[in-house]
Amino acid sequence: MSALPEEKPIAPENLLEVRDLARTFDVSRPWLNRVLEGAPRQTLKAVDGVSFSIARGETLALVGESGCGKSTIARLICGLYAPTRGEVIFDGHDMAKVRSRADMLAFRRRFQMIFQDPYASLNPRWRVGKIIAEPLRQHGLAQTEDEMRARVASLLEDVRLSAQDAEKFPHEFSGGQRQRISIARALSSKPEFLVCDEPTSALDVSVQAQILNLMKDLQREHGLTYLFISHNLAVVSHIANRVGVMYLGRLVEIAPTRTLFTRPLHPYTQMLASAIPDITMSGKARTPVAGEVPNPLDPPSGCAFHPRCPHANERCKAERPEPLPFDGAEVACHAVHERRIPLHAI
């Protein structure tokens, strides 16, 4: 075993810190097209300088529309992508500096991921018991077959399924039950940190309620820390302690949940909040939402939101705002910090 990677000082209450994280993807045309047609190289900045931290036992949610980079962040944190720039510091260790396979495996055990589609993320040819036991085998967490079986049975009971379900195949379960199996598999290596990428988006509302309740119970029982990625603001407002709002690869606002929903600061957050169809506000007059998310290959200059923003001025077009503290939140908006947005609108 090699020495653990160098320690990075982070605040003791934080389990994870992400600093200036960025990831670009090369989306150029093939080489021949570039030579023959003179097509330029193109890079897509999926995540562009994002920093945040997650305290132990906390749930941080990232919300945003498709293409805003929230799933890329989940994958960067889990090491499924290598960052182009920036650091992911997990429990004081910079993940990029983990060199040896054994060390990486040791870290991998401590964080797991739950994916959106419970149909695609379970091997249809494996029995549920084998699916859940796989991380145990991978990390050498069970010595004997009996121990393995006992552990699988207790995991199934943790997610409110029965021990007999280990003998079944995934197709014998409904979507909600499959997501429970995914959660059991994620919990099998006794992780501290779960990255949940849209875990309830493919589920019906009544099943979604069951899974959200289960996730909250498990968090309490196992002392878990969650990074919860979703596009659904109502779900996020229910499960998260803090919420970060992303737009075109940048974090535009991050605040405690109640603060964010009672007083959204960034014009994009305000727009999102007013766009959600809400059963309690039936018949309300909507704030018309102008435009669409711009092409991420060619993001607008300055603040990426300025073409859709009612408060944009010359500075917004020229200078990219950085996230700065503002009254209990952090927000990347010139208009907010210059107090150009009238307070009653906030």
Binding site: S206, Q208, A209, Q210, H238, P277, K284
Partner: protein, 329 residues
């Protein structure tokens, strides 16, 4: 409340069956409702409740082994469920438009959107090529596609998801149908785009007097769009009534559970009220009321007898809890 005008669409005791090797599955069982001209009827329910199959059966696009095994569908007083395929083809598109969930699969990737819209227009309306193109450009403008004159010659992949769904709406509107069946039209879209599409659908229906059957699992979308709501459970109507009553004063325990389980912003509850269990599979629908194993208020009668829709306050609910109230009327 009887509508002053005759209903545009009447569905009477519709039953859809799927014959499989393991026996006959009843996907839609004795479902009846009407839609008035210009009205938006929301149909909600969880996956497998039969809401999409109901829509598909009405437009005659059921894939075998699915078939209408009983009941009738009337459009403006004419039966359409027993028409031959060719006759139904003329009604589909001309009188009933359809919008599906995924705009990418509704469009042919090999033709420009203009070619597809013009073909649809010429199939249903006696217009020449130039007139059809003008109408296509107008339609694209109407659904809010910027620079429609130029965009008409683009292929579907050159449009964003929201813009594609606008093209699909334009396709559905080609022949000025009286009824549009929209199956999860905003589910694949982001919230800000979703809001735009809902606003667009509402505006178009108001302006053209088109009736809409809006099939979705999203109660928020229904609340914003529909005049009346039908809640489906295990192939049957659980409750039907005006949107405000169904949302704020639901009478069927399933509707109550469903409304309660939706997380709301600012509600700050520790746990969401949840309905235990899951909707039964079609091959194992319980006797009596299909909801009885999950129902907190189930009685003996619920396990034995299947309830029909009973008047309960402003809505009608298929629940024995309201038997006394319904009888009193």
């Amino acid at each position: 409340m009887p509508s002053p005008t005759a209903p545009l669409l009447e569905v009477r005791n519709l039953r859809v069956e799927f014959n499989t090797r393991r026996g006959t599955l009843v996907a839609v069982d004795d479902v009846s409702f009407d839609i008035a001209p210009g009205e938006v009827l929301g149909v909600v329910g969880e996956s497998g409740a039969g809401k999409s199959i109901t829509g598909t059966a009405i437009i005659g696009l059921l894939e075998p082994p699915g078939r209408i095994a009983g009941g009738e569908v009337l459009l403006a007083g004419q039966r359409i469920d027993n028409l031959p395929a060719e006759g139904m083809r003329r009604i589909r598109g001309r009188q009933i438009g359809a919008i599906f969930q995924d705009p990418l699969t509704s469009l042919n990737p090999l033709y420009t959107v203009g070619q597809q819209i013009i073909e649809t227009i010429q199939t249903h309306l006696p217009l020449g090529a130039a007139e059809a193109r003008t109408r296509a450009v107008d339609l694209l403008k109407e659904v809010g596609i910027p620079a429609a004159e130029r965009r008409i010659d683009h292929y579907p992949h050159q449009f964003s998801g929201g813009m594609r769904q606008r093209v699909v709406i334009a396709l559905a509107l080609c022949a000025n149908p009286k009824l549009i069946i929209a199956d999860e039209p905003t589910t694949a879209l982001d919230v800000s785009i979703q809001a735009q599409i809902i606003t667009l659908l509402k505006r178009l229906c108001r302006e053209h007097g088109t009736a809409v059957m809006l099939v979705t699992h999203d109660m928020g979308v229904i609340a914003e769009t529909a005049d009346r709501v039908a809640v489906m459970y295990a192939g049957r109507l659980a409750e039907i009534g005006p949107v405000q009553s169904v949302i704020h004063d639901p009478r069927h325990p399933y509707t109550r559970g469903l409304m309660g389980s939706i997380p709301a912003i600012g509600a700050e509850v520790e746990r969401l009220p949840q309905i235990e269990g899951a909707m039964p599979r079609l091959n194992a629908i319980p006797s009596g009321c299909a909801f009885n194993p999950r129902c907190p208020q189930a009685m003996d009668r619920c396990r034995r007898e299947r309830p029909d829709l009973i008047q309960a306050g402003a809505t009608r609910a298929a629940c024995w809890l309201h038997a006394a109230e319904g009888a009193a009327r």
